[in-house]
Symmetry: C2
Subunit: 143 residues, 2 copies
DNA sequence: ATGTTTATTGTAATGATAACAAATCTTTAA
DNA sequence: TTAAAGATTTGTTATCATTACAATAAACAT
């Protein structure tokens, strides 16, 4: 997957004005190496074994800080779960209603807010909801 | 705004296979006459004076039923609040970070999920986040 | 070294939604 | 008409993600 070094991670944090603590490096690394749009809880559960003293509050604090510093973006694709993405460039997402995975779609151009509306858009989210290929196959198998 | 009659409301509910109780008519009417993408709580607070015995659980149940019967759609534009829309046709939304209003944008064509992805999209949400004209004016005034 | 700022932690609070079971209304059919 | 069955509504309680808060610990500066 991603082959970013710890060096680069630390650099990126410093550039954004975020002092690179162990915990922050761990969270940012996880996001860089796992492009699965994880929730705060998923990140916490995944890091816990390696960082036994890590607190869930720290994960929340860290993610909020990263979002404020524009290091990551929030993907609010479904209510009740905030997901996070290291890729801050515009791209669309697809959520499968069966496996609940969120898939990146990079080939869709960013829709533009019509200028005559006088609305100034600062970010755009394009979300598709449906069923992925694998899950479709499994469902057809059953019937 | 909308000038739909109670007759039409009842008809629409029956057509969808929903028996038109007082509460369901009230909720559906509210959505038809107030295109403000309200949350369950906003609907409950708004109807309470006229329907003093109305329960919040009924509002939640009713909205869930309406969504299942495709009478309304969910607008998950921000985490922590589900909003509802009687307009089930595709259209984009704009949320202002100052006044928190959600504005309809009808002139943007529905983006399509690329066919080569093998993903079958059943619905699409296009959300813009930024600042509306009014709020922009107010902020400039202050500085 | 010592005081000051920053980061982390654990616990408690919040707030939206769902689960549940009792109560009431509506429909069915004897 | 009436009584059982089914559907709907209601109030209370539980759940779960997130935030608030205050205490501890670490990093930094004098
Ligand atoms: Mn993504
Ligand atoms: Mn709308
Ligand atoms: Zn799937
Ligand atoms: Zn505004």
């Amino acid at each position: 997957m991603a082959d970013i070094t710890k060096q680069k991670i630390v650099e990126q944090l410093k550039e954004a004005g975020v002092s690179p603590s162990e915990q922050r490096i761990a969270v940012f690394s996880f996001l860089h190496h796992n492009h699965i749009h994880p929730t705060a809880d998923t990140i916490y559960q995944s890091l816990s074994p390696d960082y036994p003293t890590l607190s869930k509050t720290t994960v929340y604090n860290t993610l909020k800080l990263f979002v404020a510093k524009r290091l990551i973006q929030v993907v609010a694709i479904e209510d009740g779960e905030l997901r996070f993405d290291v890729n801050t460039d515009f791209h669309a997402h697809f959520k499968c209603r069966e496996c609940l995975e969120v898939i990146d779609l990079f080939d869709i151009p960013e829709p533009q807010c019509p200028t005559e509306t006088q609305l100034i858009a600062e970010s755009t989210q394009l979300n598709f909801y449906g069923i992925c290929d694998q899950c479709k196959g499994k469902l057809e198998e059953q019937s």
